[in-house]
Symmetry: C2
Subunit: 355 residues, 2 copies
Amino acid sequence: MTDPQGKGRRARAEDLRDFATHLLERAGLGPSATRRVVDNLLDADLRGVSSHGLSFLDFLVGRVQKGGVNPRPDVRVVSDRGAVLLLDADRGPGQVASHRAMSLACARARESGVAAAGVFRSNHFGTAGYYARMAADQGLIGLAVSNTGACMAPWGGSTPTYGTNPLAIAVPTGAEFPVMIDIALSRAAWGKIMVTLLRGEPIPDDWVLDRKGVPTTDPVEVVRGMPAPMGNHKGYGLAVMVDILSGVLTGALFGRHITTHPPEEEPQDTGHFFLALSVEHFMEPETFLGRVQDYVGQLKSSELAPGFDEVLVPGEPDWRMVQKSLREGVRLEAATWKTLERLSAELGVPCPERF
Amino acid sequence: MTDPQGKGRRARAEDLRDFATHLLERAGLGPSATRRVVDNLLDADLRGVSSHGLSFLDFLVGRVQKGGVNPRPDVRVVSDRGAVLLLDADRGPGQVASHRAMSLACARARESGVAAAGVFRSNHFGTAGYYARMAADQGLIGLAVSNTGACMAPWGGSTPTYGTNPLAIAVPTGAEFPVMIDIALSRAAWGKIMVTLLRGEPIPDDWVLDRKGVPTTDPVEVVRGMPAPMGNHKGYGLAVMVDILSGVLTGALFGRHITTHPPEEEPQDTGHFFLALSVEHFMEPETFLGRVQDYVGQLKSSELAPGFDEVLVPGEPDWRMVQKSLREGVRLEAATWKTLERLSAELGVPCPERF
């Protein structure tokens, strides 16, 4: 069943884009929402983040058809005071309101130096890094966080009360790629845990807790279990802060009010929080970029630890994977191809060519 | 040598405050700077964070006397644009400029909803949580970060290139204490590693890397080694972001330019970054506080994991320790008492009464 060469698992990015676009439009999602969603999902697959790529179409198509996701959301700015904006996502795909929120935060930050935008009544927004990079692509520093379905327990507890709550920060460098982090606040993202299981690989013993809060590596218990927080109580605290910014502060749901697998008829009502910071309110942008390059050079010129042949700066592995995906084609997991084949048959949209 | 009851190690908070105040003034630190420093250091000891408490007086006294710390800093706002402020700490104790920076950020955030303040030409600012809580005490959400002496290696490397770079966030709750995190981005704070060694306790095998970048528990190698980043590459990425915000963006030193133990004649030239967020720009403060209390209730009502008898929210252990310190006296490590006795003799300031 394993396929180490990955033969027959790649496709051209533009073919995948066309396929996903036709599929979502056929499912009933409006054209502008479709554009936002597809760009975000494809970006994840280009980076090798298969848990947040086109595999997500299954989740979306069902919800668009059953009503959990509003196919033609009317995203509205419900509050605009100073450097803070609050947006109602109108229960559309999270990508629609999130793109708008970060765009507005960036524009406002150019005026005031820093700006924040909150989003409520939303659904899954894809990868957080996508929005942080929107800021970096404009020469701003961007931060994006979101709450997600409650699947992790408080430190010392065993009741799932908050999500893996992604946190992304991107910094412009003036070079080929931004310095960027895009992390789940669990030791391993839930998607990564599932992909590891699907590949038949063993789960490390500090990734997952069973339903009583005890570490487990048993695949059956893992599926029913909870991701362990990154850095124990530290990750617990960080994830709580992300939930407060994304959910408590924006008016969205938060904590255990957000279920991991709501019925397809029901919106998730998650929230997101975005921050943009204008470099030029601190110093000349050219000076800043030179200083960032100095820092990148310091990191990359480190002596190597045993077993490593290079030091990468945060964001560099992503960028390399994008280059490879554009050169060799985007690699999708076998499970994702099965999902795409099924959706292709259900909605009558031809599957992309594989090689 | 161990002293499990801690007898003779406690003192009244006000006695410690008087002692530290007289000591720093005798060393030559100006009265207003002294007030800021002492309040910050004592706050750490009240919370049981002995690595950042009065043990730090030794570091400061030497630097004030030798010139590394300016005893009468003229902290200036060198740039004030929109919601962004930039402050020159004038090489004083980090606490002086940091208190001013967070105060200004809070005032500005009340107007614009969000505000940022950077500080450069600074020295160690004590605990980050102190400044984040300044915001929470006013009903705002506060974030405080700082770069510190380069002691950690990039992921895959072995050259110390960035510090443990503390990150604190505090959220007002309307209750007895804010929800708060105040974490080093290493698995364990360097101070905690040193305190563990001083107590003669073993070092866990994932806390420290030797100078080649290999995990070690050997006390000799630990002292010469490097803290491991929290969550491996994730902590590496977060610490890089803190360095960029605190150092690269503010005009301070950054990366390996910051040495862990500069000569006492030389300033550290570290930088700090503060952010304040106005809750009422998002929703009615009362509504927010009710939602935070709902969230706190969710966390605390979790079923317990084996081996725990209570779930605490982030910030609660700190608050409990403050209550205990005020009730029973502030407990200092034996090594700290030795330092205080030496400083007492050197500067002719009577040591506080112990019980």
